[in-house]
């Protein structure tokens, strides 16, 4: 079985983001990039599936040379091969999905893992689009995954509970936190990854349907307010949480 994992290279969630001078991109100066945290669950599930059933794993990423760092991380965790679909321009989700679908077809992978979303643009759609383009079954926001022959039993997180679904290969699975505990890249894994070659492939020009016209920072947080210092403030606190903040 060939298992593909599509990964994305995103700014570290702990990094402070600034918007670039053109107002359409983030300014990468001083920004640390990491593997998209949801993709770590995807990588782990691919590795576990391979460990159980055998086969081969490949990580695929769209981007410039900088994203090799994320592919190396996937290799260090234990993925067998890596492909960089090389490009340095902005691509919308459908354009990325087309590139990935072509490569997945080329790799002949019948099981594909994605993170449920990338924490940079948060579109939460690349996995689904790729599945559609490939004609594969698709289960999203997965917190439990079992493979029996061709049959997949997946647990999905839904509002207020869980949903168990059944489908079959070939399939795209998008991973949610809780699916597994991603392993750390061990030192031996890191040394082994050094010997692996990241295959680079050029991409045709992007055909974007969506264009970013502006990026804006959120409004600064309002300061908190103290409504009292003893138990007499509780009713007012409850009222505000209910009526103003609308969290209870």
């Amino acid at each position: 079985m060939k298992i593909a994992v599509c990964v994305s290279h995103v700014p570290d969630t702990a990094t402070k983001i600034n918007i670039g001078s053109d107002g359409k991109k983030i300014d990468p100066t001083g920004v640390t990039y990491i593997i998209n945290p949801y993709d770590e669950f995807a990588v782990e599930e691919a590795l576990k599936t391979k460990e159980k059933f055998g086969g081969e794993t490949v990580a695929i990423c769209v981007g410039d040379d900088a994203v090799k760092e994320t592919l190396r991380k996937a290799l260090a965790m234990g993925i067998d091969n890596a492909v960089l679909l090389k490009d340095s321009i902005y691509r919308d989700s459908i354009s990325i999905a087309k590139a990935l679908a072509d490569e997945i077809k080329n790799q002949n992978a019948d099981l594909v893992f994605f993170g449920k979303q990338s924490v940079d643009y948060d579109n939460s759609i690349t996995g689904q689009l790729t599945a559609e383009l490939l004609g594969y079954n698709c289960v999203t926001v997965v917190v439990g995954f079992q493979l029996e022959g061709n049959k997949i039993i997946a647990e999905r997180e839904v509002e207020g509970g869980k949903e168990i679904v059944e489908t079959s290969l070939p399939a795209v699975i998008t991973a949610q936190k809780g699916l597994n505990e991603p392993r750390y890249a061990s030192l031996k894994g890191i040394m082994a990854a050094k010997k692996k070659v990241i295959e680079e492939k050029p991409l045709p020009p992007a055909e974007n349907y969506v264009e970013i016209i502006a990026m804006k920072k959120p409004a600064p947080k309002q300061p908190g307010k103290i409504i009292g210092t003893d138990s007499s403030a509780v009713p007012e606190l409850v009222r505000l949480l209910h009526e103003e903040a609308k969290v209870i």
Binding site: D12, T13, A14, T15, T32, E69, R72, K73, A76, Y184, A185, S186, L187, K188, G189, I190, M191, A193, K194
Partner: protein
């Protein structure tokens, strides 16, 4: 959970290669997830978190510079240093555990051991299946280890050991102790295994420092060890001192982790703690402290990196390791105390890590060569006069 973003004012990141960064990041994440959430509890209860040992082994953190054929990662010394730095950001006791296993147990077995000893012990120590300790210091011989009174005598089929060691990290936990003893007046290394008749390793109690680390005495009463347990390549005081050089190197890096944690805690606290209507970070006296801390961190980082590069080139001098150990430990303790000052009364609570680091660093400044001894080692090097012998 907050991911630690590091402290790097001089873009030292750009001086690291890709493997070094990956190792650092992996261990950083491990410390954020596996150590920081549990360490205060262990510190409070005077216990070492044993459950992390297999995880440390799985990550490959024991003996990382040793050859792959023993199950080690065979990485460079800078990667080793970065591992120490990240672990000590969690706790000096955890870093000590890995330091001892790597530099004071695996290193001497690798350097002075027979093939049989290497093949048997190194893979088990690398995976964490077996734990080791290092017995050099004695109750009456600390800075002057050459005066040791622990003795080995040749008996039929092996050696008989008598004496006692003190301040031994991991002693009670260890499956194997690398013990230094005089045989016909000359120092040699011996592998003493747990359970050998006459060998005991009671834990020392009452520490106000390194409370999440096990410190023990090693007692030898007519312990007969087989011939094959002598480290055949060891000879004279130079052998244990070579081990200490490895460990001191790791300490020089490790304490930078403590510094980063203390600085980061103080910086965040100062920005959010409001007194007289503004954050205390807005006051000149607080800023002076924070800048001092960052400045010392930056200097220590640069010292370490060059030290590591020299070590990887095989050009490092033991006096240079002494300088880095001496400087960084002293500054780390200062930074921890300053951080405690910025936190005011909150600084003494274990809700914050600074008092723990500060207490730990009292030991770290003293062990593996006191601040004073390192001063005299460098003093002798530059003047040609030994002030201690």
């Amino acid at each position: 959970m907050q991911r630690f973003a590091g402290v790097d004012y001089f873009d030292i990141e750009s001086l690291l290669n890709e493997d070094e960064k990956m190792v650092r990041n992996s261990v950083r994440e491990f410390v954020d997830v596996e150590i920081i959430p549990i360490i205060e509890k262990h510190y409070r209860e005077n216990s070492f978190p044993m459950h992390i040992v297999p995880k440390l082994g799985e990550l490959g953190l024991f003996g990382i510079t040793l050859p792959q054929k023993y199950g080690c990662a065979e990485m460079n010394n800078v990667a080793y240093g970065l591992v120490m730095q990240e672990l000590e950001r969690g706790d000096s006791g955890v870093r000590s555990f890995v330091s001892v296993q790597s530099s004071l147990v695996m290193y001497p077995i690798f350097t002075f051991g027979s093939d049989e000893q290497k093949d048997y012990w190194l893979p088990k120590l690398a995976s964490g299946e077996k734990i080791g300790c290092f017995g050099l210091t004695e109750p009456d011989f600390g800075s002057n280890p050459g005066g040791m009174v622990t003795r080995a005598e040749k008996v039929s089929g092996g050696y008989k050991l008598n004496g006692a060691k003190m301040w031994i990290t991991n002693g009670t936990l260890a499956d194997v102790a690398v013990v230094w003893a005089k045989l016909d007046g000359e120092i040699h290394g011996f592998l003493v295994e747990k359970g050998m008749p006459g060998f005991s390793a009671p834990e020392m109690k009452g520490k106000h420092s390194l409370k999440a680390s096990v410190t023990s005495e090693l007692i030898f009463q007519d312990v007969v060890i087989p011939e094959k347990n002598i480290l055949p390549g060891s000879k004279g005081l130079k052998s244990p001192l070579m081990c200490l050089n490895q460990a001191r190197y790791g300490i020089a890096w490790g304490v930078v982790g403590s510094m980063m944690e203390c600085y980061n805690t103080a910086l965040n606290y100062a920005k959010s703690r409001v007194q007289f209507g503004k954050p205390i970070a807005a006051y000149q006296m607080t800023q002076e402290k924070l800048v001092y801390m960052l400045n010392e961190i930056t200097k220590s980082q640069l010292l370490n990196l060059q030290l590591g590069r020299l070590k990887d080139l095989g050009k490092v001098k033991h006096t240079q390791i002494s300088m880095a150990k001496r400087n960084n430990c002293e500054k780390a303790l200062e930074v921890a105390r300053m951080s405690r000052e910025i936190l005011g009364a909150n600084g003494i609570l274990d809700e914050y890590p600074v008092m723990r680091h500060s207490a730990n660093l009292e030991s770290v400044k003293t062990y593996e060569g006191t601040h004073e001894m390192h001063t005299l080692i460098i003093g002798e090097d530059i003047t040609g006069f030994s002030a201690f012998e």
